[in-house]
């Protein structure tokens, strides 16, 4: 991008939507941490506008740092009366700033390998995870982790890579377990099948319990959400096209492509915006919008399609032990990114024998934020702290989330703090509750 044309470095028109009212300050995690207005949504937008209007240099390292400090949790969008599209502005600003700010060589290398090579390729991801698993079990990881400096703890906190048997891809067709009411397909994801295969299986099982047959989408790997959030829009666009092409091929008998169920909030929010991402590409624009319209979050789909006679329950004796008091924590990209708040709560309320409590700051970010917890572990942990306090206050025995990234963050945070609280994905709980007793 061109430093001589600063307006090209940000989404200038969108920055003008901000009326500088400040209503977004209090909910922003980075402003809460620092009290610094440059680390608030209003401040960041002001800096972006400053870049466009030539008052802040486009390659200013402090500007760049404030962009990177943001978790892109989009909480600011939920409270902004002016309808500022912050997430979109941030993706664009990061993308264009990445070209101007100078990253250290090693970091650039790591990014290229991660974003361009491993994430989009299922076989390589599998290999990487096998290596990680080996390093974890053999103790090699513990020995090399200190070489990674500040990222040491984040590396060690990665969940144990499950045995190969639990990392198999989903079967091509998983039939409905009751009278079939339709067919769907699911996004298996890039890291998901490796670390959270059980959540994918639970997703399919729950869909089966409400009468849907799930068809897998072959070798598709990555939707490109991590790319977009981290300023790799070119990679994101190319992965969006691969994804659309792959899923358009999974059609019913009439040739209609199937609804796509997503159990990862960040991916779902991103895939629902493919239409915008590819808006400038006439060959893809319409196809992308049609695709986006078929994307549903897991909870959204189940809440809308579960038949009245689906009665999930946890057995009082066994279930109460397994789950106890349950608190639901809203993933940012579900509540702020997709406006989905009611559905997961409705589903939990539907499970007989479950005691649900509210978490005080459920819509506040937990600090996971895609790969943020890896990139900025200290900030990520600081953002997590108030969440843990709220969990303690709720006295919940089980924390339910609807996003694998949050699940990892909660898991490692709870372990670090030595709490005895179980962390599950909504799909896992529902699958267990739908199993015949």
């Amino acid at each position: 991008m061109n430093l001589a044309d600063p307006k090209s470095l940000v989404e200038y028109a969108a920055t003008l939507d901000c009326i500088h009212c400040g209503l977004c300050l209090r909910t922003c995690p980075t402003f809460q941490l620092t009290g610094n207005e440059a680390s608030s949504p209003r401040g960041r937008i002001y800096l972006m506008r400053g870049v466009a209007e030539g008052e802040v240099a486009g390659d200013d390292p402090v500007y760049h740092e404030e962009l990177e400090f943001c978790l892109v949790c989009r909480h600011c969008e939920s409270v902004c009366p002016a309808g500022v599209r912050f997430g979109e502005m941030m993706e664009i600003a990061r993308d264009r700033s990445a070209h101007t700010a100078k990253r250290p060589l090693l970091e650039t290398l790591a990014r290229r390998i991660g974003f361009d090579v491993v994430l989009p390729n299922r076989a390589l991801m599998r290999l990487a995870m096998s290596l990680l698993g080996f390093a974890q079990r053999s103790g090699v990881l513990a020995r090399v982790a200190p070489l990674f400096g500040a990222r040491k703890d984040a590396l060690l906190a990665l969940p144990a890579v499950p045995p190969t048997s639990e990392r198999e891809p989903l079967g091509l067709r998983s039939p409905a377990r009751v009278l079939e009411r339709g067919e769907v397909t699911v996004l298996e994801g890039c890291v998901m099948p490796e670390l959270f295969g059980r959540v994918n299986r639970a997703t399919v099982e729950t869909l089966g319990a409400i009468g849907f047959t799930t068809r897998a989408c072959g070798t598709h790997a990555c939707c490109g959400a991590l790319h977009a959030h981290n300023g790799e829009l070119e990679g994101a666009r190319s992965l969006a096209k691969t994804t659309i092409a792959a899923f358009d091929g999974v059609a019913d008998q009439g040739g209609e492509p199937l609804p796509i169920i997503v159990n990862s909030a960040g991916c779902g929010a991103h895939m629902k915006e493919y239409g915008r991402l590819l808006a400038d590409d006439p060959a893809w624009r319409e196809r992308a919008s049609a695709f986006s319209a078929r994307v549903h979050d897991f909870s959204e789909f189940v809440a809308a399609h579960a038949p009245p006679d689906w009665k999930p329950s946890v057995d009082a004796s066994d279930g109460a032990r397994a789950f106890g008091r349950v608190a639901y924590d809203d993933p940012c990209h579900l509540c702020h990114g997709q406006q989905i708040r009611k559905q997961p709560r409705e589903l939990l309320a539907r499970v007989a024998g479950l005691e649900c409590v509210e978490l005080a700051n459920a819509e506040q970010c937990c600090g996971s934020a895609g790969i943020y917890s890896m990139l900025r572990p200290a900030d990520s942990n600081a953002v997590f702290e108030p969440k843990l306090a709220a969990l303690d206050e709720s006295r919940a025995d089980t924390l339910v989330t609807a996003n694998p990234g949050c699940q990892m963050q909660w898991q490692s945070g709870i372990e670090r703090a030595g709490r005895n609280v179980r962390v599950v994905h909504l799909a896992e709980l529902l699958a267990e509750a739908s199993r015949a007793k």
Binding site: L16, D17, C18, I19, H20, C21, G22, L23, C24, L25, R26, F31, T34, G35, N36, E37, A38, S40, R42, G43, Y46, L47, G50, E55, V56, D60, V62, Y63, E66, E77, S78, V79, C80, P81, A82, G83, V84
Partner: protein
Amino acid sequence: MEAAWIAELRAVVGERGIVDDATRLFAYEADGIVLLRQRPDLVLLPRTTDEVSRALAILHRERIPIVARGAGTGLSGGATPVAGGVVLSLARMRDVLELDPVDRIARVQAGLVNIDLSLAAAKHGLFYAPDPSSQQACTLGGNVAENSGGPHCFRHGATTQHVLGLVLVLEDGTVLDLSEPRVDPLGLDLVGLFVGSEGMFGVATELTLKLTKKPATVETLLAIFESLDAACDAVSDLIRARHEPSAIEILDRLTIEAVEASVYAAGYPKTAEAVLLVDVEGSEVEVENSVRAIEPLIRARGAIEVRVAKSDYERKQLWAGRKGAFGAMGRIAPDLYVADVCVPRTKLREVVAHTTRIAREKNLKLATVFHAGDGNLHPNIAYDRRDADEVRRVLEAGDEIMHLCIAAGGSLTGEHGVGLEKLPAMEWLFTREDLATMCRVREAWDPDRRMNPGKLIPMRACLETKQALARPEHLT
């Protein structure tokens, strides 16, 4: 190399308590009104009264101007550091120090956000009554400095009626503890004097505030009108008939459209010319009787529909819409000029009609919301600060509106303060003697006029007093 005084300040507030790079300072150029901008030389983010005191002592010695800043939601340029110098932000001082549900008192740090106090008090069935529309962001210290109001201040009174005590740091670092006794003031009411002083008397670091018991019952009425005039008349009727709702608000058509397009969409009908929002609170019987009496009055003025909120949720939505109104205007244009004038309630209709005319003549987009119960109206003008000619017309319209209200027996500001923006207008409303007296009061607190310089009292008035005092023979 860094100046010695900056290093000293760094030692007081710590590395995370200081902002000194040009880029981050850029974010502190303005408050809620971006037309007025000035980058500070330094921002401090202290955590305790002691840190504030030590920092102010250093700045006193160095003769550097200081501007206190809460959340920067002010709408009169109050927190804009016109003279440069140091911005002292209270954003990291947000602890609840004490909450006594029996005495119904809270002691808090001044940077606590207004809504957070009500949230903390909620489990005791209490709340903090003054509810500016910016309550989810503005700080209680900022509220004290501006003597802020809010929709429900019609019944509960503005900030000043809820402040029991203060801990202040004066310009030279002296700590003044005015937090005891927690009863009516003895002697000169310094606390009362400080409230509304717009950051010119010192920095408030701790506040002792009154909490209010949540009403047993609240009902919210939404009345829909085909004309703004009729809505204004309904308000006059309500007051004349001595009804005492806790809030009476009006939103006009353009405001309704903006709100309904936002995340705060409240279900106001988009075709209405105006909606009237009324809250009634008290015991169940009281509320029922009031609602029964108020409804026909409103209908008699031509309301095409009167709805009573059916649930707590719906009630909250209706109010969230009202409170999001200002920001929602961001959809109409990049900037908003929020006038804040006050007129006797009987003049509302006339003044509103006149402001509409002014805006039309100047080809400006005007949206009006008002705390009708208090006669406090906010004619909001949407504009783009990059368009110099439009800016000129906006400022002219603002001036005309203020003149209009003064002529109607009203005032320059209902709740947003004078700050920077209404400074020249002070001379329209006050005599030289008035202003000179204000100036002397100010100098009693801050002899060098280093606290928030260039605000509230026109400088000319101050200089004139100074000269007059220095050379008594010039006194006439």
